[in-house]
Structures are given as C-alpha cells and as structure tokens.
C-alpha cells in the first residue's frame, strides 16, 4: 500500500483537498441530516397534534351530544392525509366513540402513548390529544400516523445530500486538481531539477521562477545554491586537477627523495657501523689504556670515566661519576688547583701536562698529569672537558728522590768542601782531621756510627783511629780488628771502591761481622769505603746504620768514598805536612772539582 508519506506532492495536495472537502461536506451532511431529523421529530407530532386538535374541536359537539355519525363524518376528513392510519375519538372514559381507519388498515388498534402525548414506534407515530370544551376535557382524539412516507422522504433527502456531496467532491476534485497543478508546478519543477542534479551532477540546471510566494523564494534560493555549487564545483575541479598535478610532481619528488633517502640510509648505516667501530675502538682503548680517560661537564662533574680510575685512584667508576674533579685533589692543593683549572676553562683553553696531586681512596697521594680539551657546542658554549690523566707519581717520587739526592749531594758537597778546608788538615793534624771527618760524615749520612780504621804496619790488623757515635756525640778510639778473622771483608776492601751493605747481616762481605759485631750494636747496614794511599788500601772508613736496614744510594757511596779519600789525604798531608801545603791545597781544589764531577 502506498504510504501517504511517499505520495507525490500532487497526490498529497489532491488528497488534502479531498480529505478537507469530504470532511467538511460530511460534517455538513451530518449536521443537516441531524437537524432535519430533530426538526422532523418535533414537527411531525406538532402538526399531527394540530390536526388532532382540529378534529377534536370539530367533533366536540358530536361527542358532547353523542352524535356518532357526525363524529365519524368529522373523522373522515382525515382521509385527506393518507399517512393517517387511524383516527379515533374517545370519550372521557377512554372508550372509542368514533374511529376512522385508513383503507387497508382495518386491524389497527388504538395504542397507548405515554405521558408526553405521543410515541414513536417503528413506523408509526401514535398521538393522543384531549378534546377540551370550555376548559373541561370531554374526551380525546387518537391519531396513528404512518411514518414510512416521511422516512422515505428522509432517505431521499439523505440520498440527495449524499449525491450533492459526491458532486461537490467531484467538483472540488476537479477544481483542486486544476489549482494544485498550478500550485504544485513550482514544487515539481524543483523536485525534477533536484533529481536531475543528483543523477547527472549537472549544476547548470536552473528552475524558472513562476510565483512570487515562498516557493518563488525557494526557487530563487535553489538557483542561487546551484550557481554557487557550480562555481565551487568548477573551482573544486580545478583545484582537484592542480592537486593531482602536484601530487604527481610530489610523488616523483618523493620517489627521488626516497631513492636519495635509501642511499643516505645505506651511507648512514655505514657511518653507524664506522661509528660503532670507533666507539668500540675508543672503548677498547679507553678501558685498556693506562691513561685514565674522562669527561666532565661545565661545572666540573665527571660524566664519563674509564675503568682504569679504580686502579689509579681506588674509586670505582660509579663512585667517580657525578663527583667534582676537584674533590679528588689533595686537600692542601684543592683550592689552588681548582682555581687554576677553572681559569683554563674560562679561556676554553687546553689542559696540557697539568700536574695535580690527588688522593687515592686508601689515602695515598697520587700525582697525575692531566691533559684535556674543551667540549663546545655549535654556538661555542662550553659543555665540558674531556681528556686523559697519566699517573706520574713515580716520576714525581723520582723527582722528589732526585731533589733529595741533590740536596744530599749539596750537603755532602758542603761537608766535603768544609772538611777539605779544614785547618787541621792543612796543619797535618791527622787525629783532629779524622775526628772532624768522622763527625761530619756521621751527620751528613745520618748514620749512627762512623769510624776510621787504619791498617797496622804489618797489615794484620786494623786500628780504629776514631769512632764517632752520633746520638752520644762521643769520640772513641783504640779498637782493633784482626783482618785474618774477616777474610772476605778484607778481600772486598781490596777490590771495589766501597762496600755498600744494605743488609749487613746477609751481605757476604759483611756477614762475618754479624754475630760478634753487628748484632750487639744493632747495626743493620754498613757503608765501608777503603782508604787508599797511592795504590794501597791503608784503611777503611766505616759508616754503620742502626735501626731499620737502610738502602745506600749511589751518591752516599760516592760520598763515603770521598770521605775515605779525605782521610787518605789527611794521612798524606800529615806525612807531608809542611812540604806539600800548596800541593795539598791545589790537590784539594782539583779533587774537589773532580769529585764534584765524579759525584755527578
């Protein structure tokens, strides 16, 4: 079934017209019919009542004077209306006085009517009217009216009305059909145009404006919309084409770019590989180098440290990272070194062989030589420093040792020079000279005991000419040693310049003295230098260290030898006292110079 919604506009309009017209007409009909009915229901009894009254009045005399004939005659007048089936005059007690019956209705009887005076039965109207004479009811008139003719009339009326209604509808339909064609035209035009646009996408379609009402406005708006759409469509198409072109271009670009990218990626991969290798190289180097490689940020915090740091400073890399570089400095130097470093940083300078003292985790001093370069960003701002530290502790220690030995040498030199200048020596006072020499040597070498021994004339024993004990500040002499008891020692004396026995007990050359001599006196190291006069060994200068075994340094050996030489000089001087004064002076000067040379 066609739903109202989907009907055409024309159809809807027709339907609307039909519906409204039919409703109006139908209501009209109903109203008319109802009015008729009501009217009729009221009118018919009234008219019948009038007739009854007339009959009653006319028959009143007959009734009063009991003239049945006359009464009947009066009733016969009812013949005129052939709808009246029965007319009956009844006396006051209700008995029929005179009755008229329509032809063919002989069996009809007077019926009750009820209080209103009339009653409608199926096809009859029963009416009763009183006959009043001079204010008194003398009887009544009963009429029975056949309604069929009236019904027929009503039916005809209804039919006529219905017919009229149909006619009206038809007329209305025709009229509305014509009108709606006119009205709907704009709508259908619009609809058709819209459909055409939708189907063929043809935006050049326009609708002719026919009316000046809202539909006309709609048409204008529609046309306007279409032209705008058309413009936009064209623009769209253009931009679409442009876009396509551009897309194509871009695609080509992209393809190229892609190719380039691929190459770049390949290169990048290579670069990454290279980078990885370099990183690995760096890592291998850094981790295995002896130098400690590090990086700090601009504030001085360690951001990278190679694992060597643990060996170098005792800290694990985790313990170092995040700490400031100056935290590791020795506290005494911290401020100084820190300021020096930051001065360099401020200049973005290179750190080159920056020697700084650090403290190992175990407390030991570690000297490092730091080399570093600044890390700068593109703008040139300092991001930090990176570099490498080398452990120069040994060197430093060596340098310290060197300085010490230098100091020692100077001291020794001074001592020797002083001794050489000794007046006792000039005078040839051997004893005094020996005492001087022993004391000076003791102080210079910082040994506990220094003794000067000379062979006896037969070389079987040695005599101690002087023994100086440092802590007691005491000179003693007179002790004698039989050389035959110490053969190895004697032999050693003859050979080398000096006997430097770091551990006197174990050194074979001096071991002979161990039990009898060394142990009782607590001597642990001996430095003995033979005294030669000419080519002969005539004695020995002994330097004996008490306490922890001591390692004689070469310079000390040379000093000992020099001391021995001084003694030999003193001996010679004493022998050639006055004769060789100038010679001695020159010899001393030359020997001092050559000693100084040989020391070095």
């Amino acid at each position: 079934m066609l739903s109202v919604k989907d009907m055409s506009f024309k159809g809807k309009m027709l339907l609307y017209a039909a519906a409204t017209t039919s409703t109006a007409l139908a209501l009209c009909c109903v109203a008319v019919m109802a009015a008729q009915w009501i009217e009729w229901r009221r009118e018919v009894p009234r008219r019948l009542a009038i007739q009854a009254d007339i009959v009653g009045m006319n028959a009143s005399a007959a009734l009063t004077f009991d003239d049945q004939e006359s009464a009947e005659e009066t009733l016969r007048g009812l013949e005129a209306d052939d709808n009246i089936v029965l007319g009956s005059i009844c006396s006051s007690d209700g008995t029929e006085f005179a009755t008229y019956r329509r032809v063919g209705s002989e069996e009809v009887a007077v019926e009750e009517v009820g209080p209103s005076g009339h009653r409608f039965s199926r096809s009859r109207l029963h009416l009763r009217r009183p006959i009043v004479l001079d204010g008194a009811e003398i009887g009544s008139v009963h009429l029975q009216y056949d309604l069929r003719e009236l019904y027929g009339g009503l039916k005809r009326l209804a039919a006529a009305v219905a017919g009229g209604m149909l006619l009206a509808l038809v007329g209305a339909a025709l009229v509305s059909s014509r009108i709606q064609r006119v009205l709907a035209r704009p709508v259908t035009d619009l609809a058709d145009a819209a459909r055409s646009v939708a189907e063929h996408k043809d935006y050049s379609v326009r609708v002719v404006r026919r009316t000046g009402d809202e539909l006309g406005t709609l048409t204008d708006a529609f046309n306007d919309m279409l032209s705008r759409i058309q413009k936009r469509d064209t623009a769209l198409q253009e931009s679409h084409d442009t876009l396509e072109r551009r897309v194509h271009e871009r695609t080509v670009e992209l393809a190229n770019a892609n190719a380039v990218l691929k190459t770049e990626i390949a290169e990048r991969k290579q670069a990454e590989e290279a980078l990885r290798e370099r990183e690995q190289r760096f890592q291998d180097i850094a981790e295995n180098a002896m130098e400690w490689i590090w990086e700090i940020d601009a504030s001085g915090k360690y951001t990278y440290t190679s694992p060597i740091v643990e060996e170098l400073l005792g800290y694990k890399p985790e313990e170092v990272l995040g700490r400031y570089f100056y935290d590791l400095f020795h506290p005494d130097d911290r401020e100084e070194f820190k300021n020096a470093a930051f001065e360099v940083f401020a200049q973005r300078g290179h750190l080159h062989e920056f020697i700084n003292r650090n403290v190992h985790k175990n407390g030991k001093t570690i000297w490092v030589s730091t080399g570093g370069v600044p890390i700068l960003d593109e703008k040139g701002d300092l991001l930090g420093y990176r570099g490498a530290d080398i452990d120069v502790t040994e060197r430093k220690e060596a340098e310290a040792a060197l300085r010490e030995s230098e100091a020692r040498l100077r001291t020794q030199n001074t001592t020797l020079v002083e001794l050489a200048r000794s007046s006792a020596l000039y005078k040839g006072d051997l004893k005094a000279t020996v005492m001087q020499i022993a004391e000076a040597a003791c102080y210079s070498l910082s040994v506990e005991r220094t003794s000067v021994w000379l062979y006896a004339d037969d070389r079987s024993k040695m005599q101690c000419r002087d023994l100086y004990e440092l802590s007691a500040d005491r000179h003693t002499d007179g002790l004698e040693l039989a050389l035959a008891d110490f053969p190895r020692y004697s032999a050693a004396l003859e050979e080398g310049r000096a006997i430097a026995a770091h551990d006197a007990h174990t050194d074979l050359r001096t071991a002979e003295f161990s039990t009898a001599y060394l142990t009782p006196l607590g001597i642990t190291s001996m430095l003995d230098a033979p005294i030669r006069v000419g080519a002969e060994v005539v004695g020995v200068v002994c330097h004996e260290h008490v306490g922890q075994p001591r390692h004689w340094t070469p310079d000390e050996e040379y000093f000992a030898a020099s001391i021995a030489d001084l003694v030999s000089l003193a001996i010679e001087a004493s022998e050639r006292r006055r004769k060789e004064v100038e010679l001695r002076q020159a010899k001393e000067a030359a020997e001092a110079g050559s000693r100084a040379k040989s020391e070095f």
Binding site: M57, N58, S60, A61, A62, T64, F65, D66, D67, S70, L133, D134, G135, A136
Partner: protein
C-alpha cells in the same frame, strides 16, 4: 398459590352475577323503562348544560362577569335532582350555573323568564307556547323543549328521539331572532328545521 386465588375469584364473580340477575330479573321490563327514562333525562339535562358551550349570548345577557348562568325550567320540572346533579359544581364560561324553576302562573316567574339564559319549557306548557315566545321575543334566551315539533313551532332547540338516541332540531331563525349565535358544530349535529306557519 396464584392458581388457587384465581379459582376463588372466578367462583365469586359467578356467584355475584347470579345474585344480580336474580335481583334484577323481576324488575327488568319495568326497570328498563324506568332506566330509560332516567337516562334520557340525564342526557337531556346534560345537553341542556352543554348547549351553553356552543352558543354565544350577546353582551347584554349578563350583568357582569360574575353573573351566573341561569338555567330555567318552566312548568313541571321533569328533571328533578338530575338537573341539579348535572350542573353541580360546573361552570359555563367560568360562570356558575344557577337553576331556576319557574311557573307561568307566577307573575314574578314570568318576569324572571327573561333573566334565564337557557329555558327548558316543560311539556306541561304546550298550550302556552305562543305566549311564552311572545314574552321572550327578541330576548337572548335559548328555549329548549322536548315538546313535539318545538323547533317548527318557534322554539329554538327541540329534543327528538332518533334511532334510540336523543337528537335535536333547531330553528336558525329563532336563534337569530334571539340574537344567539350557535356554533356550526352544534348546528351540524342538529336537524335544521324551518318554522312552520301553522298553529299560532
């Protein structure tokens, strides 16, 4: 239960009918006559009264609105109580009805004749009809009688017996002379007669 009652009722009614017939049986022929007589008088009396409803008296016939309607009986009153009963508590055009019994011999009565509106002339006055008419000439008095040929003889309405019922004759001239207007309805019923010129 209802069946029992109806059987009882039927029994009763049968008994009553028998009783009444027994009573009435001997008197029947005579009684019938008597009954007829009474009935006819009743009818006449009723007609007498009812004539008033179909006739218009001229204005002068009544003194005022309260004046009663006078029904006179001249001569021997055949009605007796019947007439009184008939008009008792009845009105004619809202006037009360008064009955006057009059006798010709009485002069006073003769004067009162004119005051009646309806006058029933008894059969006893048969011989005096002319005199009565003369006395009532042009007076608005409806003269009614059951004297034979009353209407022909100058009366206005005369009762006649017709087909077992009481009918009446009227003289239109008489009514006109008396200035009484009779309704056509009444006249319709009556047999119009011409007054004959005999017996004067």
């Amino acid at each position: 239960m209802p069946d029992v009652l109806s059987r009882k009722a039927t029994k009763c009614s049968i008994l009553m009918v028998l009783a009444v017939s027994a009573l009435l049986a001997p008197t029947l022929p005579v009684g019938a006559q008597e009954i007829d007589e009474a009935k006819s008088l009743k009818v006449k009396a009723a007609y007498l009264y009812n004539f008033a409803k179909f006739i218009e008296w001229p204005d002068g016939a009544f003194e005022d609105e309260q004046a009663p309607f006078v029904v006179g009986v001249l001569g021997d009153d055949p009605f007796g109580q019947i007439l009184d009963d008939t008009v008792e508590a009845k009105n004619v055009a809202q006037r009360s009805v008064k009955i006057q019994r009059l006798h010709w011999n009485n002069k006073a009565d003769r004067d009162k004749l004119k005051n009646c509106h309806i006058l029933f002339i008894s059969a006893s006055e048969r011989s005096r009809l002319d005199k009565i008419f003369a006395a009532l000439e042009e007076c608005p008095v409806l003269v009614v009688s059951d004297i034979h040929d009353f209407a022909r003889d100058g009366g206005m309405i005369g009762f006649v017996l017709e087909k077992g019922r009481i009918a009446f004759e009227t003289s239109r001239e008489a009514l006109e002379k008396a200035k009484l207007k009779a309704s056509s309805r009444l006249l319709k019923l009556a047999r119009i007669v011409e007054p004959s010129k005999r017996s004067r």
